[in-house]
Chain length 488, copies 4
């Protein structure tokens, strides 16, 4: 085997044990249930597009383990070019699905992060995590599976360390260590694309001290493993997905974000990649955010491309030329290209890790995170500005009303403008969906908060260097140290 086709992917999902819930109901088949079918469809795109030679080039690469053709989502990122392809692939998939296929990208980034950290741990501690990971990866490549990644713990009271919480389960932890594996308890929350995944790659949080060592844990599991319960969260306007019609116009993709509850789940040893090495947990997070916060610039750019297209489309159905909005469209393009470009630059300015992995520049990656938490909001505002009142909050009667036997003809008569009522409604709904509806991904806090990124920027931007050369330029010879902060 190697590259699966669409049907093989769908079949693999159908075969799994149902353990995902939404609205207090078990989802028997994620590929057909309205709450999950759109995200499965979105994630399936990469399998479908293997047949398209243009897209295949970007979606596949060769295994660094055995040289076989593999999905890029299962590859080791070894060079700037691999990262450029990462950004391009994400931008492209946003353009084709309209939204996030996070179930692939987070898992991929997670396995790359642990590839590096397992190498470092083995070097320093003499453990054998790295070969375990490589073995699993080789197999995963052969099976061409989809892997979601899980990072965020519930955390509880933010002012207390995991081990100091009233309830010690507020971050995922090892509750038992056995010769053949570990047992874990806790939760991971806001996890993207789980419903479309075959396996889940779990990362530890960070900021751990020795007392928190049971929280330093990483492993990979089948999504339908015993004692794992998954609950999908609400998203804006998500019940529309259960309705007929075009109030959610896009069927090409969708997002899910899940809460994973681990009620003493057993993980066999060969799938465990960290189990107590708390001093390496921060490294995992840094190895994760480097490529993640770089390539998310591609995601946001693709999302912005959709907003531009949807806004102009709506304006045209109103009879308005895009020329009227040139300045706004240009600003939207600048926003898109900025997040895309800063991510590319973070890759270009990176460096090689001894394991063979490529490390993105952290300063630029984190600058990008701040842009990703800011610029898309302006792009959304401009899309709503261009597309007008019916798009701003989707201010139109529902599809049911559109089709009403009693007054649907009136709805349609008055929604018609330069183009048909349906085209106009669909275009405006796409603006709504992507700016204030179910298509809005959680980019601001996804993969960490912008304030966290600002902290990284502060620590990496070498303030004292800048003060030093300013001092030289100013011709100052006196010593001017940082003053002590006065006590209050």
């Amino acid at each position: 085997m190697a590259l699966r086709n669409y049907q093989e992917y769908i079949d693999s999902l159908k075969k799994m044990r149902p353990n995902i819930y939404k609205f207090d109901e078990l989802i028997e088949d994620v590929t057909t249930h309205p709450a999950t079918r759109n995200t499965v469809e979105g994630h399936s795109k990469s399998y479908r597009l293997y047949n398209d030679p243009n897209e295949k080039e970007i979606l596949t690469t060769t295994s660094h383990i055995n040289g076989e053709p593999i999905s890029r989502y299962l590859s080791l990122i070894r060079s700037p070019e691999d990262m450029y392809a990462n950004s391009r692939m994400k931008r492209r998939l946003f353009q084709l699905t309209g939204t996030c296929t996070g179930g692939r990208c987070v898992g991929w980034t997670a396995l790359n992060a642990m590839f590096i950290t397992t190498y470092d741990m083995d070097e320093k501690l003499g453990t054998d995590y790295h070969p375990r990971l490589v073995n699993w990866l080789k197999d995963a490549q052969a099976r061409d599976i989809t892997i979601a990644g899980a990072l965020t713990d519930p955390k509880g009271d933010r002012t207390k360390m995991p081990s100091m919480q009233d309830d010690p389960d507020m971050s995922l932890r090892i509750v038992e260590r056995r010769p053949d594996g570990i047992v874990v308890r806790g939760a991971k929350v806001m996890i993207c694309g789980v419903a479309a995944a075959n396996e889940l790659f779990i990362l530890p949080g960070s900021g751990y001290k020795e007392t928190d060592k049971d929280y330093a844990v990483s492993f990979v599991i089948p999504r339908d493993i015993q004692n794992l319960t998954i609950v999908e969260t609400r998203r804006p306007s998500d019940t529309r997905e259960t309705e007929e019609g075009f109030d959610i116009p896009n069927k090409e993709g969708g997002i899910t974000q899940a809460y994973l509850f681990f009620e003493d789940v057993f993980i066999p040893k060969e799938r465990v990649f960290m189990a107590g090495e708390y001093q390496f947990a921060l490294g995992v997070v840094m190895n994760f955010i480097g490529p993640y916060r770089s390539a998310i610039g591609g995601c946001v750019a693709g999302q912005g491309d959709v907003k531009i297209g949807a806004a102009v489309l709506t304006a045209r159905t109103n009879g308005l030329t895009s020329k009227v909005f040139n300045d706004k469209i240009t600003q939207m393009n600048i926003n898109n290209e900025t997040t895309y470009a800063v991510g590319i630059a973070a890759a270009a300015m990176g460096k090689k890790h001894p394991s063979g992995a490529w490390l993105c520049d952290q300063l630029l990656a984190n600058v990008n995170k701040v842009h990703v938490a800011t610029l898309p909001y302006e792009t959304s505002r401009l899309a709503q500005d261009i597309a007008g009142g019916i798009a701003e909050t989707g201010c139109m009667p529902s599809y049911k009303d559109f089709k009403s036997a009693k007054y649907g003809h009136l709805v349609q008569k008055y929604l018609k403008a330069k183009h048909s009522a349906e085209s106009r409604a669909r275009a405006a709904r796409l603006v709504e969906w992507s700016t204030i509806g179910a298509g809005v991904p959680g980019c601001m806090h996804g993969g960490g908060s912008p304030d966290g990124a600002r902290l990284v920027i502060r620590s990496l931007s070498n303030l004292e260097d800048k003060v030093r050369f300013a001092k030289k330029l100013a011709g100052i010879t006196e010593d001017i140290p940082e003053p002590e902060v006065p006590k209050k």
Copy 2:
């Protein structure tokens, strides 16, 4: 009679003919149906608060007609102080209801606009519209009714005048003139608060030429008049209103935005305030946007106050002090106070109209419109930034899942932080609701688009004056006229 109490208001709505639909169903009782009860509740606040001496002062005033105590929403705006009270009242009602009670404010602004224009028409044309309006207003004050206002026409192809459209009904028009009144056909769209209104005040659009004179029409009607069909539009996450629980946490208020279809509705003469005087239609719009775009600064400020409160509340349930977010909160406050203040200034810089009405400064009112289309987006972004991932897109399991017999205990266990799971979820849902949910009003395009406001700013900001004094300062004596635009 005069000031009604809450029950009288509710009873008046219950007594009306059901003619409002949503999801292809007739709403039998707007005061109890989930699609409308929240907006009725929000609109009822002003009736409820007559009993509160602090609030009564801002909510009531005296009639300029007969000196009786009346709702401010039925008063003539005669002074800057009346406008300040307008801004304050709107800000206060946003704080108390969390969102827009547009069914009162648009109707009020509409009657003030037509108060002025009917005066002007009578002066110029010798018509008797003004006494008709005053008579109706006196009666409306005595009945203490709620009045929604309707301005926006469907418009059809934006590049064509109303009379040049393929379908002449794309703007509301007179199709028959009778000795005792007129018959109108067409629609008004995106009309706020109709479900909570007793009557509807209809304004004409603008930009009409002589051939469009049948479109220059203004009148007031009972909401349940014959041949009027009303369809409520969707809003983000609106079906949550039909659900049990706190996924929409706020029951104190809500918005509706309706499409009104006029299928040859007869309006008796004494309720008609314009019928063909196309040359006065632009004046109506200007008289409307003056106070509307001023006082909307108060709305947006109140909405921003809620976002600040909701975001800080969420942070505190996480265990985080608001001090961490001082800079962001200060920026949110600056945004709020800016829209509030520019509206106040537009009132302060206004002038008296011969009819006794107060005209706000158009330049400042329109500057405010641009701020209203921009600053709340930043305020929403900052609220989501402070409140974290669960608020950004409301990334939590639904209320049904929260209460699930099977795994609700897990949802609750892991949603708990510094405070209870429920408090945390409610706070985060309020951020979601007010920034990306059903509480987001259409402030950007409501009452006209920001690009329209920019055109007004351009026409009123006296560019040539500025060039003239720059020229004097620069000591230039040569004539420097505006160059001709080169032909392409």
Copy 3:
């Protein structure tokens, strides 16, 4: 006497003892010396314009003491309308002089601040400062003098209180108290318009404790008092003022900012308005910043008006129509009107003080201060954008080169565009002067820093109120207090 004419004003300056220096030279006559004549010319505008009926209305008012016609700059601000006139007057004077005439406005604001505080002190402490001030003011009105105001102390090490500095003179202080007056030592720095003033009104700093009581001092003095030495500071491109030609094109106005050195200056008792009442010093500052930070919105708007005019003028000399820059000009107008409007609103939302003075709303006044520290920078950038490369940094040969016998013809040949080389150069120089030259006033830190304003905003914006109504809207009943900040 009462309203002086231009010549009387000039003569009064000529008669004073020369005690102002620049570039290590004594300025014998401030009305003719190149370093000060432009600011004198600017300040003289208000005397000149008494003859213009349109301008007189805004520049004069009546004395609240004796009903005589007086300069508005010597009046008590008693109503919102007085504040509107303040904003309008400042905007107008910027339009006519191109820059700040701070020697009038700071002095005026200072006397109003002390009018209030002396009233409060007399009420609380039984002192007789208020009648002293009123007596002096009555006389000042009769003499129609120009008064500069002085607030900023050198301060020394920012982390130490005045009385804890290594050098106790780092803030102005009383070094001797005599029966007939006080002796002061220290400095006031960055004081605007001193060269154009007849008298100087000195205010205390703030944040004083009992040990700092000698620093709580306020008084008014002739500018040429014994033992006072004044040194004018540099400003960008200030030596151009000493050159012939149009490299500074504007001769209608100019700024100066002085350092005042008090070497044991004796102040007679009747001119002393505070001498040790440290607990009232903060009140002075608040009474000062209320009207100051409100009306500075008018200054900044007038400055922005000049930038718009100058930029468009330059574009036209290049052959470009302003239509190309519509969006940029509209944004500049929005910036101008915003600072103007927020100041007007701070006045409108103010309240009466028992002394008869009008107190502006502090929250809005301080919001405006932040805008004043931000928006003009964008307006300057847009002016440079419109006006092009020759304006951005004034990238043209000097006037001397323009007139060179050797190659001046070449300079002129190639500077000519749609209009003459001289008109084009003058227009571009005006953009340079007002955005990166000697015309840029220190609005960001003048009258206090934006960070200080942010502190006031934070303290006045009632966070807990906002949390309280958000909590009610969210239906939360649990107590959610501000968490304790964790100790590090």
Copy 4:
């Protein structure tokens, strides 16, 4: 020969014919005259630093012609890595000189642009421009000369083509073609670093039609060629350069911007690289702006680094810790890294030209140009915000006053804060110099205007692609073309 040392460079400048003027005076020796010595010092840095192994790596490379070690400024840009080095070198030189060394970078970019265009012309037209250029370049590398580049024509009336101007000399043109060369007349304006250059590389403007073919001209000349007269322009506060002391604190670098007047200058054939091929002129400009608008992100980042250092240094002399300003400093860092990163990305996303040159991505390069015209203004504002009133407009007495025998002790006494008066003054002057003084380079319009960049962005951002995939996502099948713009 190959890499020259500092003295050789200085000597080469001393040997040249004096033909540069400022203030109507001939500059006899550019290396010592106050108007030019700072820029010579700045440009000499690259020669000086050959001795520093760390810096040498970035400043030198090998010739693609003969493999010899050469200055990077004389190299062909052949790869993304060459462009990264370009950005890094420019950032580094800004850090070391405080400002622009444009006399190297523009010349370098110009020769690279013509390297490509001469190749294209020879391919298409069979001309021999490319070998001419390579011959000259080989020689220039051997001589290790400094080359300024000249692009901007005076242009005259912006609405007319060069050949349609009243005065045909408003753009540089060929007035005579001889067998051994051409004679040119006209001017190039706002040319950076001419005084520090050995030779000048002249590029054509763009937008030419056949009638403008005499304007399509490119060549390289010694700076002191016969019939070339050079006049240096003013910059903000430039006369301070002629003064003693630290009012311009930085002696490590400086800028000049010159007007070049060509009065029938003869250019020998072997130094002419375009002479009439108008259809290739646009290509030159595009080949120029690609690397220029990419690498200018490095310049602006380095400039921003200086502003950060200078602002923090000033705050520390005031006794304030940088921690107070963390948010502002982080924003400044984000601005710096953004322009740096977008330039890096433009390089990374580029492609190879058949000539061997590397072509940067135009879309990203032009996005960067817009950032370069915007972000530094915010960075300057924040620097002034941090550094306080004495930095905002440099509000301190002059150096002469600082040293005054009469009152210099007072100036120094009161300028002292946490650190000495001199250190504080120097630090604040550096903020002034770099934000509103002689150190501000003309980055907004240098190398073309941001509006020109916006046009490129619009043309390259594939609007119809975006509309197409939005249409697919929205499920719209109807054809929705761009409407015709209605005629007025």
